[in-house]
């Protein structure tokens, strides 16, 4: 049986009805039509489903949607501000950080969380932050480049 819940997604309160056993991934994709969040395993192994909960990266396939009430949920659809891509998205566009693009939403969310906490991450810190996001296309290099470029764009070169 569906029940009505209130979720805060990308800064908006949304009332949505779903079965309480559903994962956050399922509710985002199936009940809120936010299909930007992807899935590659639904077992917590690939990171494609990564969203931010109160700013923290979480694999939404392992997270019950009901648990996300009263938390700030951020998905890839919320990264651009009124259609203007974030510095990270722009950096990905410039370095070619997305190939098939399937891992990209999850990678963007993990990297967004990293850059909020650490304005000038080293390459090792970037690798560490993205270790839960599998990418099969890029060999990660252009993803690392993108995160580094975004850091510079956001705060200027490290002095």
């Amino acid at each position: 049986m569906k029940e009505l819940f209130r979720l805060n997604v990308n800064g908006e309160d949304t009332d949505v009805a779903f079965e309480p056993y559903k994962t956050l991934l399922e509710v985002l994709r199936e009940d809120l039509d936010l299909t930007g969040t992807k899935h590659g395993c639904e077992l917590g192994e690939c990171g494609a489903c990564t969203v931010l909960l109160d700013g923290r990266p979480v694999m939404s396939c392992l997270y019950l949607a009901v648990e996300a009430q009263n938390k700030r949920i951020e998905t890839v659809e919320g990264l651009a501000d009124r259609g203007v891509p974030s510095a990270l998205q722009t950096a990905f566009a410039r370095t070619g950080g997305a190939q098939c693009g399937y891992c990209t939403p999850g990678v963007l969310m993990s990297a967004t969380a990293l850059l909020r906490e650490n304005t000038h991450p080293s390459r090792d810190e970037i690798k560490e932050a993205l270790a839960g996001n599998l990418c099969r296309c890029t060999g990660y290099i252009k993803i690392f480049d993108a995160v580094e470029l975004a850091a510079v764009e956001i705060t200027g070169p490290e002095s």
Partner: protein, 796 residues
């Protein structure tokens, strides 16, 4: 055994013959300086969709009243199906339709020569995970429950799980038609007098190698959505690399005129060869839709994707080479045995590919190849990035490294002295055009510090090198036909918008961007003015698909040809308006202008309106058919390509002599891709190929225990994370191919192959041990180190 002898052809010394039908599009070849789009680090056509979550992959699609399909799969590697009872499933509430193999009995297969599959198993199951029945229900959970309610009675048979078991005449037959044991196919090709070649040799070397199987693991699991309309038309959206072949196979299996079927490939979340033929879920979804009167989505789980497989064949190889004292080859004898899994798939082509490119990139005056493929009770193997050429490349390059060592040559210098010349033919009738391999070798030697390092690093540290070659598209189609391999249509609207229609499927290799760049360059418009309609069998002309690294070369040429026809029309009206001869016109940045007085110009949109007034609606087509290159022997269809890419890689490794653990310090790679249409995209393809190569070299293997896949999940089947990725140094080599679009060749597959033997050769440089099988895991290295210690101790 079928034995096919080919006529030897004078290799190397024979002169290059230009194809009889040069492409019209080549007439306007321009120099780099004049390009406004090509060669620039442009944004990708679809960057915004892919970075904002807006891109809709198959599983993201929603149709009104859509329901969900699930497949019931075999738990047995080999068993007879005695009975299937679907009555309980059918009676469940929420279940719309149930199907079994009998409902779709028409055999199919991607190759005309191996039509051995059915949409679901008929009388027998041949691997764990083979589809047996299908259900459509109101939601996935109900569909799953209904699958569980289907009763299947099996009579288990002895599974055949290895090459040796498959070759055993007493083994249980997987397909009853095989003549000898479970051998699907034997092939033999011989070019020149091998005996003479070995007699001429100063030394003869012989080695054996084994390449373990592995799989693609695209991040997007396969999915298909089908909508059977009451009018009798059916649309299938699928995560496929080959919408055209899926279209054909749907027509066959559904027994429906192809004109009623439309296949759409939305953006595909990675393929690497694993989505190149029809799968059960794609064939079953339309029928479930017809029976239920609802659109049906089937989205596979990760575990199911491991069962779909069609990945790298495990291959056992034997190689014997006669060489002169400088390393030059006098004769090459090569044998391969492929573990094909349960069905044919692309396997016969794969078998030939384990032989076809072995006469490159080194001069091989005499060549013999014997290949065979066996059936086993495992998911079918097929094409993975570098299709069938990666395994022999590992063998040949490791073998050459040993030869260089024993002859006392530097492995790089020895190779440089043996390379084929550009614009030459090989003994097995492959036509080579542009070749930038000498430059590629020099680039990696220079950048890696090879000369200071090779043979000079301390114990436990090593450096290795290897070269490779790959196709820019298969020269022949999968099913014989004389039609183009790629077609494109372009229309220009009155506002200057340019729409390109092409059947290509973008799997992340950026084929959409490629089309946009080529057309924008040719017409001199902004990439933002280009609109694409791709991956749709109803709306766009045929492109054979994203396999064999064919798309840039073939679809690129087709699109360029269409664009050049429109360019001619636009130039005609612009020349009249500007009062300048057509030959003096250029087009860039949305303007058509006088090359000698660039102020004299007319906006593209205005020229389009003048042209429409003059000629009527502006639309043109272009197509590409590769030159006829197949040699006069059976099996010659595999190997020819309009152009070959060449790669050289150097790997530097550390081996912990106590644990056997191997860590890759850095990989240098240089790839001759003809011309980089966009260096960002090309670097990405090279880096991705290098990544996949080193993963195959040291981490990945698809193995089985008692008929069961040992690791059908991402937790068990390890693919590298961001923490594992070594540094990669990439160099692009541009040889400007005379027939490629703007000189471009392939980049998507070639760079993978040399990485694997480069690593094996580096392990030798580090330890003095030759590992002759992949993956080079710590336990294997450690065992070899310990064995050597024991041998040393025994010798003392």
């Amino acid at each position: 055994m079928s034995s096919e002898k080919g006529t030897p052809l004078q290799s190397e010394t024979s002169t290059f013959h230009a194809p009889s039908e040069p492409l019209a599009a080549h007439s306007s070849e321009r120099t780099t300086q004049n390009f406004s789009v090509i060669g620039k680090r442009n944004l990708k056509y679809d960057w915004h969709a892919k970075l904002t979550g807006a891109a809709k992959y198959t599983d993201d699609l929603r149709l009104p009243r859509m329901i969900y399909g699930r497949l019931l799969r075999s738990p047995h590697p080999h068993a007879r199906i005695l009975r299937i009872d679907v009555s309980r499933a059918r009676a469940m509430s929420g279940v719309f339709a149930v199907l079994t193999g009998k409902d779709l009995p028409i055999r199919y297969g991607i190759l005309p020569s191996s039509q051995d599959e059915t949409a679901m198993a008929l009388e027998k199951v041949r691997y764990v995970g083979e589809a047996v029945a299908a259900v459509a229900a109101v939601d996935e959970w109900t569909a799953e429950e209904a699958c569980n309610a289907i009763e299947v009675v099996y009579e288990p048979l002895q599974p055949v799980m290895s090459i040796d078991e498959a070759l055993d005449p007493d083994s249980e037959k997987i397909h009853d038609w095989t003549k000898h044991a479970n051998i699907q196919k034997n092939v033999l090709l011989e070019f020149g007098d091998l005996d003479e070649g070995f007699a001429e040799a100063d030394r003869v070397f012989e080695d054996e190698y084994f390449f373990e199987g592995n799989t693609h693991v695209p991040m997007e699991n396969h999915a298909a959505l089908a909508n059977w309309e009451p009018t009798g038309k059916v649309t299938v959206w699928s995560s496929t690399q080959t919408p055209h072949y899926l279209h054909r196979e749907l027509a066959r299996v559904l027994d429906l005129p192809p004109s009623r079927i439309r296949v759409i490939a939305p953006p595909v979340g990675g393929g690497f060869g694993g989505k190149s033929e029809a799968f059960s879920h794609e064939l079953v979804a339309p029928v479930l839709s017809r029976l239920s009167g609802r659109p049906v989505l089937i989205s596979l789980s990760r575990e199911e994707v491991f069962y779909c497989h069609r990945g790298r064949h495990p291959v056992r190889m034997w190689i014997r080479t006669g060489v002169k004292s400088d390393g030059t080859i006098t004769a090459l004898d090569f044998k391969s045995t492929l573990d094909g899994g349960a069905y044919g798939s692309y396997g016969i082509a794969t078998t030939y590919y384990t032989g076809a490119l072995n006469t490159l990139p080194y001069r091989v005056p005499r060549y013999r190849f014997e290949g065979r493929r066996v059936f086993t009770n495992k998911p079918p193997c097929g094409p993975k990035r570098g299709h069938g050429t990666v395994q022999p490349r590992f063998a040949i390059e490791a073998h050459l490294d040993r030869i260089a060592g024993e002859l006392g040559h530097d492995p790089a210098e020895m190779r440089k002295g043996m390379l084929v010349s550009p614009f030459s033919w090989t003994v097995n009738h492959l036509r080579v055009t542009s070749c930038g391999l000498p430059e590629a070798i020099d680039a990696v030697l220079e950048r890696s510090g090879w000369r200071e390092k090779h043979g000079h690093l301390p114990q436990g540290k090593g450096i290795g090198l290897a070269c490779s070659v790959y196709l820019s598209g298969a020269g022949l189609p999968i099913y014989w036909n004389p039609m183009p391999h790629s077609g494109a249509q372009i229309k220009i609207d009155r506002g200057g918008g340019v729409t390109v229609y092409c059947g290509t499927s973008d799997i992340g290799q950026d084929s959409d961007s490629m089309l946009a760049y080529v057309v924008a360059e040719e017409l001199g418009v902004d990439i933002g003015d280009i609109h694409l309609v791709t991956g749709d069998t109803s709306l766009a002309p045929v492109d054979l698909g994203s396999y064999s690294s064919r798309v840039t070369f073939m679809a690129g040429n087709a699109a360029r040809q269409a664009a050049s026809k429109l360019r001619a029309q636009l130039f005609q009206v612009a020349a009249a308006r500007l009062d300048v001869p057509e030959a003096r016109l250029g087009a860039a940045g949305g303007m058509i202008y006088d090359l000698e007085d660039t102020e004299r110009q007319i906006p593209f949109a205005q020229a389009a309106q003048l042209a429409e007034a003059e000629f009527g609606t502006l639309g043109e087509t272009g197509s590409y058919t590769p030159p006829k290159l197949a040699g006069p022997y059976k099996g010659s269809g595999v190997g020819p390509s309009p152009a070959y890419s060449f790669t050289c890689a150097v790997a530097e490794v550390d081996v912990d002599l106590e644990t056997g653990i191997l860590s890759i310090q850095k990989i240098w790679v240089a790839h001759d891709l003809g011309r980089a249409l966009n260096p960002v995209v090309c670097e990405g393809q090279i880096e991705g190929g290098v990544y996949m190569g080193w993963a195959e070299a040291v981490i990945e293997e698809q193995v089985f225990r008692k008929g069961l896949h040992k690791q059908p999940s991402l937790l068990e089947y390890k693919i590298p994370t961001s923490l594992d990725m070594p540094d990669v140094d990439t160099t692009i080599i541009e040889s400007i191919d005379p027939e490629g679009p703007f000189g471009a060749k392939e980049v998507g597959q070639g760079p993978l192959a040399p990485v694997i033997p480069a690593i094996a050769n580096a392990v030798y440089d580090a330890t003095g041990i030759r590992i002759d099988s992949t993956p080079i895991m710590a336990d294997k290295v450690l065992r070899a180190i310990e064995m050597r210690r024991k041998q040393h101790a025994a010798a003392v």
